[in-house]
Symmetry: C2
Subunit: 346 residues, 2 copies
DNA sequence: TTTAGCACTCGAGACGGGAGAGTGCTAACA
DNA sequence: TGTTAGCACTCTCCCGTCTCGAGTGCTAAA
């Protein structure tokens, strides 16, 4: 890591200039362009020398002899680690997001949807949000609501207000009062238990304990059982089509390869590292483990909900506006925390 | 409509041959190809004459002088109307779908997801399903479930077992029994009412009628009110990326234009005609009203749920396997009916 | 150490010619 | 009269060649 010192101030400025230019134009940057755009008081020839040095050190690359230079992944990494300042969304954008969320606070999946849209619209890259299933919340109460004829609904409420429901069949003869009694039975037995504890043992115990009205109880038990089945984490992907704007994917095959990543939710789950913190992290190109996205970059962060860790971020080309992506992910992280806080889900 | 008779049997066979060939290869079809593939016992020269006639009548087009012919939209229309036989999915495919749905029957949004996947996977085009909001179902019952401290959940159950919920704040002092009383009050007042009726008048009447415990009732009323807010129809799009396989979209700009249709759910709603029946309908290219999809074709059908009409279908290039698309949409329609029937939602 | 000058390299795009596929037309044939 | 073989014609696609220009690396002077 002595590398930090190994770049002179001038070299850093040149590197930055090339990165900014290349990110916005997607074209190799020549020595003339560097002096022009970045009003340095040195000549093109000097820049050329520095650029040759930077290339030798691995921070720049040359697509072919007579082209300008483009930043290497190592160059981006250096910039991200030691030079970059996050660019947070504008105030208007933040206000807009807050407003969009204000009405819809109640519906969590709607919130996720909108946050995803925000991420992808502000950054112009594809965004993903992985919502973990609530495994560890507590059982709060259960109700059995009779419907027409032989139908009833089993409702399980968790302590944080999540509601799971499933319909069951009951004997035609059964009286609502009886259902209520059975519900109370469950409530007494299960209140305050962890949902996964319930799944593992208590249901069976309960079944043995109660001998009457076996059929309804069996059905209710089975309903609860399936309700507690480990569900897949939900993945919401937004703005996947943003990447077709990027010139690096003008090649249709490449484009197709990348887009198929977004078709399968599971792929996204595999792409993001398992154990992550709440601070923004960046994976550039080859740094990614999976072959499929070695030509893409990832900017992501975790967010804490009930026990589990959620993940969200953006996926874009290596030639990415990391500063904006990182700033946006950072801001969104704060907002998510705020929302969860307000709903008492932390 | 005298047109039906105006094509000789041989001309029809040639038209069909060209359509089949063109749909699978995306290349103009020459006279030689027609004789070869479709083992007719006539010579290429004869076919050429017939093709010239078919072109004059508008069923075929020639991209340029020295190329083969491709079917015009009128040609496709003729084929679809008077010659086509639907090709339903294979038995294995149907069995697979049934199995995939078997476990997940309970979760409607999961069912929709899987059906959409089926549509797009079998046809290899993009699929859409528009799920109407349930406006007209009846109020069944309401429960107020106390949570920790000053929180409670208002639960509205409709007669077809749809559950809407929302959290409200209650006075700390309030006793669960009291909540139950309030709940019963609502139940007596509202049971059997149409939800949109409730929205329009009964809530206000109820509010006046009850003078005690005003705050909770107000909150509950407001919760119900927002729950009954007209929600947007839900749109599920699957397999949008299928279209990047189609050679007609090798042009990036064209591709982008088409893909953006799928980004906005509202666009899809506008694309599909408002009043449709349960039988499969087809819109070919220019027949579509909206500019954006005049280079695409639509194969769709309606399905009846509670009162409202849902819509689903596939979107693909004009050069589409209409027979397969129509057969698949048809089969899926039957399956949806079956599911809704079984859930008592018809 | 920096800069100006200059020959060199390489890709992008224009140009042109040849091959091939498919046609329309004409004349012979059943 | 409908069908077929033959043939000249047309147009696209592909491939090689050429030129242009941007950008470089190197050398020599400041």
């Amino acid at each position: 890591m002595g590398e930090i010192m190994s770049l002179t101030d001038r070299q850093r400025r040149i590197l930055e200039s090339i990165i900014k230019d290349y990110v916005s134009t997607a074209e190799p940057v020549g020595s003339r362009a560097v002096v022009k755009k970045h009003g340095l008081k040195i000549s093109a020839a000097t820049v050329r020398n520095e650029m040759a040095d930077l290339e030798e050190m691995g921070y720049l690359e040359q697509p072919h002899t007579s082209a300008g230079r483009i930043p290497s992944e190592k160059g981006f990494r250096f910039y991200v680690d030691f030079m970059m300042e996050n660019e947070t969304p504008s105030d208007e954008q933040m206000v807009q997001l807050h407003q969009a969320l204000e009405d819809r606070m109640e519906d969590w999946s709607d919130v996720v949807q909108r946050v995803g849209q925000f991420l992808s619209q502000v950054t112009n890259y594809a965004s993903f949000i992985i919502v973990p299933t609530v495994k560890l919340s507590q059982f709060h109460s259960l109700q059995i609501i009779p419907m027409q004829e032989d139908q009833a609904i089993v409702l399980v409420v968790t302590d944080i207000g999540i509601i799971l429901h499933r319909r069951i069949t009951i004997p035609l003869s059964m009286h609502p009062e009886e259902l209520k009694l059975i519900g109370d039975l469950f409530n007494r037995a299960l209140r305050g238990k962890n949902l996964h504890e319930i799944k593992s043992g208590d249901l069976m115990a309960l079944r043995d304990e109660i001998k009457t009205r076996r059929k309804v109880i069996d059905e209710a038990l089975e309903a609860i059982d399936t309700l507690l089945d480990p569900q897949e984490d939900r993945v919401v992907i937004t703005g996947a089509l943003n990447i077709i704007k990027e010139p690096e994917f003008k090649d249709l095959d490449k484009l197709r390869r990348v887009l198929t990543i977004f078709e399968e939710d599971d792929q996204i789950k595999d792409i993001v590292p398992d154990h992550i913190g709440e601070e923004v992290a960046i994976r550039i190109g080859q740094e990614n483990k999976l072959e499929d996205i070695k030509e893409m970059s990832l900017v992501f962060a975790g967010y804490k909900t009930t026990g589990e860790m959620g993940k969200m971020g953006v996926i874009g080309p290596v030639r990415m506006e990391y500063w904006k992506a990182a700033g946006t992910v950072e801001s969104v992280g704060l907002i998510i925390d705020e929302i969860l806080e307000r709903r008492g889900l932390k």
